[in-house]
């Protein structure tokens, strides 16, 4: 069972503001889900390698070269946040 402290900690790590009600609900639901997935501990995986991809591709390299991207697309992509002087504006960090 996850404690409220743990839920608050996870929410901070995940950069999510949660209401007290959400903390309670997610606490219960996450505990139930984790309880269910604990089923995995039945499986002996001592000598089993992990699978992180199924593509079977090994070292899909390409040349690391700078290529121009369509200017209009770049502009359209950057125009959707708050900008100032051609730069993306962020809140103060400190």
């Amino acid at each position: 069972m996850l404690t409220t402290e743990q839920i608050k900690h996870i929410a901070t790590l995940a950069r999510l503001e949660l209401s007290t009600e959400e903390e309670e609900t997610y606490g219960k639901q996450l505990s139930a889900i984790l309880n269910y997935v604990d089923k995995l501990s039945e499986v002996n995986t001592d000598k089993v390698l992990i699978t992180s991809q199924t593509g079977g591709l090994v070292n899909a390299w390409r040349e690391d070269e700078v290529k121009p991207w369509n200017e209009a697309e770049v502009k359209a992509a950057l125009a959707q946040g708050e900008t100032a002087g051609g730069q993306v504006k962020v809140k103060r960090v400190l």
Binding site: I33, V37, L40, S41, V43, A60, V74, Q80
Partner: protein, 484 residues
Amino acid sequence: MELNRLNIQEARVKLDSGEITARELTEACLEQIAATNERLNAVLTLCTETAREEADEADKRLKAGERLPLLGIPYLCKDNIMAKNIRVTAASKILEDYIAPYDATVIKKLKAAGAILLGKTNLDEFAHGASTENSAYGPTKNPWDLSRVPGGSSGGSGAAVAADLCIFALGSDTGGSIRYPAAFCGVVGYKSAYGAVSRSGLLSMTSSTDVIGPLTKTVADAATVYNVIAGFDELDATTYPGERLVELSGDVKGLRIGLPKEYFVEGLEPEIKKSIDKVKEELEKAGATFGEVSLPYTDYGIPVYYILTPSEVSSNLARFDGIAWGFKAQEAKDLQEFYKKSRGQGFGPEAKRRIMLGTFALSAGYFDAYYKKAQAVRTLICNDFAKAFEDFDLLLTPTAPHPAFKIGEKNSDPLLMYLEDIYVTGASLAGLQAISIPTGLMSVDGKMLPIAGQLIAPRNSENKLFKAAMLWEDKIKINKTNFI
């Protein structure tokens, strides 16, 4: 004949002979959307103007004698795939006003092929779900029974194809999200092998299992769309050339098909089991051979999936920080608070649940016990399939344990919804290709609802898979009434 009810092959003949124009076909689909979408809520964004322009352009190309499989064919696309200058929401409030700055590779390919984009379809927010109830824009309804879900997460695409709002649709499948709605809506849904279709321009969910694919009215249509969208793409390093589908036929002589015994257990609706027996019978009559096979780690598929998926989701959704695009919270004092408020207010409940679960599974002290453990069990699941494919070319299974359920029936308990994926996560985790095809209709509360089965195949065996699929469809047809 209402033109929107045509499938790709039927429309192809009429377009090529000049009997109809792409513009007429497009207008018929737009009319059907206008007439039904208020009830279905399948389409989130309509591209009426650009669709008409694309249709007129296709007509010019047809007139000039050009002949291509999808030239002049109107389609809808799940709203987690980017089409340049068109809003892409992922059914989330966090992207409500976001305009896609570029085309996904699949969209680029469909444009070049002359297909016409009608609009974008509803989904579970960021494709998180099995019912399309997790959309921030309201659930999509199943056209067979409006009180039921269309399945998910590509529920808008499934409902749209079933109710003839388009000629075909694109969806994405991470752990069943094409096959599940295809089963619930009585259409064909094809999830290609991982890496066979480029993911460039798909809003990432679970990068290690995400696949884009077609939902169609026929098996041949799925093959046609697949042939156009598949292939290596330098913008997605996981892509590989794959096998193209050639000379579709139902010649299944000598095909060895396995029935995984763990997929035919308690909880499977008996009528679905019976309908799959019928598929087996037909394939046997045509020369395929059958045998039982065991996939011992089947039961661990869902626990593995619901560790790996939230983990990859939490990482992929970290990019939604409210800064360069998307929803921005007001009244935040500093950057940290701005992140927390923007994300807390912008994401819906299931997205937040998965972000939390994934953040936990990846956090210090838990990474080995959850994420690495799940990756190791994933290896055992992959090995199960690899072993089965030593003796068999294909596997035949149900797609869903039951027909479409009622809206609201399962969405209060996330675990209950996760268990819906029981027959579809395996192929996703192992990166295999799989197709869901209707097996019949069953009566539930006085309404006829579609039921379906699934064929699973290893990579680079597209032609074998589609042979069995073609024969299946040829022998077992469902009668679609014009229900809406």
